[in-house]
Amino acid sequence: MLLLVIVSAITYAIFFLLPRLAGQTPYDLAARYVGRNPIPSQIHDMEVRLGLSEPVPVQFWHFLKAIVAGETYTVGPSRVSCPPPCLGYSWRNQQPVWPLLVSDIPVTASLAGGAAVLWLVSGVAIGVVSALKRGTFFDRVSMGTALMGVSLPIFFTGQILLLLFSFKWQIFNVQYVGITQNPLLWAKNLVLPWICLAFLYSALYARLTRAGMLETMNEDYIRTARAKGLRERTVIFKHGLRAALTPILTIFGMDLGLLLGGAVLTETTFSLNGVGLFTIEAVRNQDLPEIMGVVLLASFFIIIANMVVDILYAAIDPRVRL
């Protein structure tokens, strides 16, 4: 919680200072909210209404208060109430940021969640087999593929997938359908982005798992487990994999949190209206409140994911105390 306040303060500081450093005055910022060819008095009026000329701490207080208690904006022709969490008022859309953002979260969550399951299962499985069959044909091929997965950019693999499966053979369409509307179509339409995103990450995870597994299987306690007369399968999965997976869990939490804040490249490639595409649009239009909202949302997810990881870590490794 404290972390969230700190993050929001830092975010705010950055987004407050950036325009100032770029030479923008409160007057210039206010000008963005008024229509084309405004008269100076209109802009001054807006500056006062948005509180842009107030001292920085006061503005930050308003910003925080809006998140917790909501805010009412009288920017446009009518009053717009913005219930909590109110992340500000968008310049380009002339409406509060939060509802815009919220409508995009299911898309990103579906994309990130599905891909995460896919990459975790495939990455770990490939990594384990590779480690156990080190130096064999399987190991070489899968690690070569993993290298490809890590190096190939998403917009490249994504285009290829789209070209083959969507345009040429027309097997998979990519268009977001709510999971509550039609779960089957939801999954089918997300297959390509999932594969595309999971390819990148599972490559990474396969390499990580392989390295972790190789290290773990050389540990003394693995030798002890074998000395007890345990079956090799038990040694690998009960004693080896469990220890090898803990560091991967940490990275998984970070990656998932990061992705929930917007899978920018994948969403752009597949034209999925998620948080990532929202971010791109916000950046293109230099809509500072929107960008700020995305950053806060992303940091929220990362912090939550990290907290979950910490709790899980303590559950897995008895040496860790919360």
């Binding site: 540990e219 003394d220 306690y221 030798r223 002890t224 007890k228 007369g229 220890a243 008895p318 040496r319």
Partner: protein, 382 residues
Amino acid sequence: MTETGGADVSERTGLRAWRAAGGLRGRQPQTAEALAPSRPDAMLEVHELRISFPTDDGVVRAVDGVSFSLDRGKTLGIVGESGSGKSVTSLGILGLHQYGRADISGQVYLDGEELISATPERVRALRGSKMAMIFQDPLSALHPYFTVGAQISEAYRIHNKVSKRAALQHAVDMLGRVGIPQPAARVHDYPHQFSGGMRQRAMIAMALSCDPELLIADEPTTALDVTVQAQILDLISDLQREFGSAVIIITHDLGVVAELSDDILVMYSGRVAEYGTAEDVFGRAGHPYTWGLLSSMPRIDEARAERLIPIKGTPPSLINVPPGCPFHPRCDYAGMTGGRSQTEIPILHEADPGHLVACHLTAAQRDKLRAERVRVTAGEDA
């Protein structure tokens, strides 16, 4: 089997009996008869064990033709510097040398059953039940994520069909027997909640949970402080008496083997340098390397001013073992053998009955040097 008079053999015990029964045949080319244990009554007989690891730099001959035997209830001490092959020997006996990456040959008879040619599944079934091992560093040898009780009962449940509850009760009993206070409560602790000595006790409890007939302790006390060392050694010999197991103690600490061992095997560079009863090896040491080990050991009954004499140089790389006697570059007496030490691998031969030494020095030279040594290190009780 070479017969040297049945009555005579049965009267001798342990090592001497094995020698008398043709144990030395180990150096000769393997024949069909070598595939049967030469002493079927021994708990363990290792015959010409060779373990090598092919690496990018060459073949590492970690164990190069090691033979010994061990009776029930007896203790063998294997002594040597780091990298002399003592740990690999024991891992090879248990079939724990790296699967597929090491070449192993020779024979290991456990209670008459050959293990090198046995299926991995058979060796696995024996491992932990009939033969068990205690490892050097109990903190890294115990799994950090499982409770001590879970790890001990797991070992028990592999070889005994009992419920989890019964196995846990057995773990509590075992912890109590190795002297851990409040075993019923401590059984739920994790290894990191145990002290070093308690961890080693838990390790011993785990190894002994299935009443193994052969127990191999690989440097069981190196990671412990001195007072705990003594306790652990006492514990091992007490439990040995109680369970009647044969024990192999692997160590670089001659004090440890002096205390516990019936027989001593001195290893150097993957080969046997000297092998005999504890009295032979300590009292009538025949190999210059053993002399070096003895002089580098502090002795309480000698004058304080006496400086410890380290063995000069370092052990050879196991990839490029020096030609001839592997010890000759470090040996003070290698010049006395007329060049044989530099060119010819010394053969393990009897210096005294049942006392084997692999050295080119003649018996006369050895006696003379030993007498001089006694004069130099005054106080030797030879």
